[in-house]
């Protein structure tokens, strides 16, 4: 039953380019990439229990690596792969302290990682374009419909992979490591190996999505892929949708981007309203939208 509903929703989403405007498609395309960011974050936070305040460290690495390579004439698909690889390396760099530190300390390291990346980009402005941003010569496609389908397909495939990973035996062990590392270790599981795997997978998808996003936008800038406020949006999206659900993170991201767009007439106040809504959800429905629905479903 659930699968049928999901398929119908998917078909409806896939048919959107035939009957909605390019503007709506553009908003949703960005929202889908954000969905992948949020799902990758949920894997680390919800399952591995790592408070990662710097999802944009991984995303920014992927985005800028891809963008810089493209400026040197490397084909687009190779740039995207290189971006993903750069993010995975970044993921290992983050994972090293994560294996030693707990909670707030690791959170701070990730926050600092983002700040350092941001500073490096600004300092080497000659290569990276600094605060203005890096112009990218190639695009994925000029047609908004194609871009939309690409983003949707990417979201669905990433979602399937991340979801099945989280429900697999490895995902369950990961969850155990996140909740009680010592007990998981006592049961004979290799905590370090599972956490490293979680970081690698999360970084892979963050990097891929970051690289594809810059080829869609045609520019990589600190404000769109590195700034802490972008990371905060991703975290809000995942918590809003529901932690430990993967799917919820994607829904939360789409909701957040679309809501931000609908509230745009409010001008500067729109961020205020979106944050206020997110705060209310956190206070009153801590399981997030999907978590709340799931629990109601169980009760009924």
């Amino acid at each position: 039953m659930r699968i049928v509903t999901a398929l119908i929703i998917l078909l409806a989403l896939a048919s959107l380019p035939f009957w909605v405007s390019a503007y709506i498609l553009a908003v949703l395309t960005v929202a889908y990439y954000f969905g992948v960011f949020a799902m990758a974050w949920d894997l680390l936070f919800g399952f591995a229990g790592e408070v990662n305040f710097g999802p944009t460290f991984l995303i920014g690495l992927g985005a800028y690596s891809a963008g810089l390579l493209d400026n040197h004439g490397v084909p687009v698909w190779l740039c995207v792969i290189a971006g993903a690889l750069a993010a995975v390396i970044g993921g290992f760099v983050l994972a090293l302290p994560a294996l030693r530190l707990r909670g707030p300390y690791f959170g701070l390291i990730t926050l600092v990682a983002v700040l350092v990346l941001q500073q490096v980009i600004v300092i080497f402005a000659g290569v990276t374009g600094g605060e203005i941003g890096l112009t990218i010569n190639d695009v994925l496609s000029v047609d908004s419909g194609h871009n939309y389908w690409l983003a949707l397909a990417f979201l669905v495939i990433s979602g399937l992979i991340l979801y099945s990973f989280s429900r697999s035996a490895a995902g369950l062990i990961l969850q155990a490591c996140g909740q009680d590392a010592i007990e998981a270790q006592a049961l004979g599981f290799n905590v370090a190996k599972h956490k490293l795997a979680a970081f690698a997978v999360s970084a892979l998808f963050s990097g891929l999505a970051g690289a594809m996003l810059v080829f869609y936008l045609g520019t990589a800038s600190v404000d769109t892929v590195v700034d802490i406020s972008v990371g905060v949006q991703i975290i809000i999206a995942a918590v809003l949708g529901g932690r430990r659900t993967i799917v919820g993170a994607a829904i939360g991201a789409v909701f957040l981007i679309v809501a931000g767009e609908i509230l745009r007439p409010l001008g500067q106040l729109n961020t205020f309203v979106v944050s206020a809504i997110a705060l209310v959800v956190i206070l009153f429905f801590p399981d997030g939208l999907v978590g709340y629905l799931l629990r109601r479903g169980e009760r009924a």
Binding site: P104, I109, L111, V116, I235, Q268, A276, L279, F285
Partner: protein, 291 residues
């Protein structure tokens, strides 16, 4: 000559960092809350001081006092509207309270930032100094207000020390940070202890915010950076250790000033960030942490 300049300027900025970070550290020590709306409270106080002293024309003294008042209100609002509901919520699992407080205060900080930008201004503001004039310290021309700033900070820190170590209320705070359960068993109401600590926190953060806005100027866009710097100072010094925060503030303050003067102002924050990564990596409990 330049060395002296660094010494003087670094002292003032470090003292401000210390005052800003101590409140943050105190809240964590007593109630285990990492308040990521910290920068928001500092800037809210600064903007109130600027608005009442400048556009409303009430003068800088009334403005500064009103700013501190506003900071206390903002601190209570943070506690009452955000932190307390999460701590009391039954739907949030105990072991996840921490991450919910982090996320919620982060959101709250963004709301403060956007509200200030919308209702007042998002361009940089400078609060008028309390006193004018320049003092010559061994050839370094220093604004008198910079000296007053450092003095106010140290008096506030001294008063805090007296409060915590010499009064009954302060000793309750200390006890709450060591063993809250034991305190409740002795018949103390924990929630009134928390109210007191948030009030103290509000005063400290507000004074730091107003003085910082006099010294360097501030803007609603600075909120994130202010929170991050308080967070890093507190972690560097050791979470929950007030004297650790004090020393860490001086390390960071001087490191930044030296970098800005001798290398380049654009690199100002880089060495302190690297130091932080190094310390947290080699000694996660911070330089003077308890655990």
């Amino acid at each position: 000559m330049r060395g002296l300049q660094i010494l003087v300027d670094g002292f003032a900025i470090s003292t401000l960092y210390a005052l800003g970070a101590i409140g943050f550290s105190l809240i964590f020590g007593v109630s285990g809350v990492l308040n990521l709306a910290h920068g928001g409270i500092m800037v809210a106080a600064a903007v109130a001081a600027w608005y009442i002293a400048g556009p409303l024309g009430a003068g800088q003294y009334v403005g500064a006092l009103a700013g501190v008042g506003c900071g206390i209100i903002a601190a209570f609002a943070t506690y009452g509207l955000v932190v307390r509901p999460i701590q009391r919520s039954r739907a949030i699992p105990r072991d996840e309270t921490e991450i919910f407080v982090l996320t919620a205060t982060l959101l709250w900080g963004i709301m403060i930032q956007e509200a200030i930008a919308y209702f007042f201004t998002d361009s940089p503001i400078t609060v008028r100094p309390l006193i004018n004039g320049v003092v010559d310290i061994f050839g370094v021309r220093t604004p008198a207000n910079e000296i007053l700033t450092a003095a106010i900070c140290w008096v506030s820190i001294g008063l805090l020390w007296l409060l915590v170590n010499r009064t009954r209320a302060g000793k309750t705070l200390l006890a709450a940070s060591i063993n809250p359960r034991g305190l409740t068993l002795l018949g103390f109401e924990l929630s009134s202890v928390y109210l007191l600590v948030w009030a103290i926190y509000g005063v400290l953060a507000a004074i730091a915010g107003v003085l910082l806005a006099m010294f360097l100027g501030t803007s609603s866009n600075n909120i994130g950076v202010l929170t991050a710097s308080a967070f890093s100072i507190v972690v560097l010094g050791g979470l929950g250790s007030v004297s650790g925060s004090l020393i860490a503030a001086y390390i960071i303050g001087y490191l930044e000033t030296v970098t800005a003067y001798l290398i380049s102002p654009t690199l100002r924050t880089i060495p302190s960030l690297l130091l932080l990564v190094l310390v947290v990596y080699l000694r996660p409990q911070g330089l003077f942490g308890r655990r």
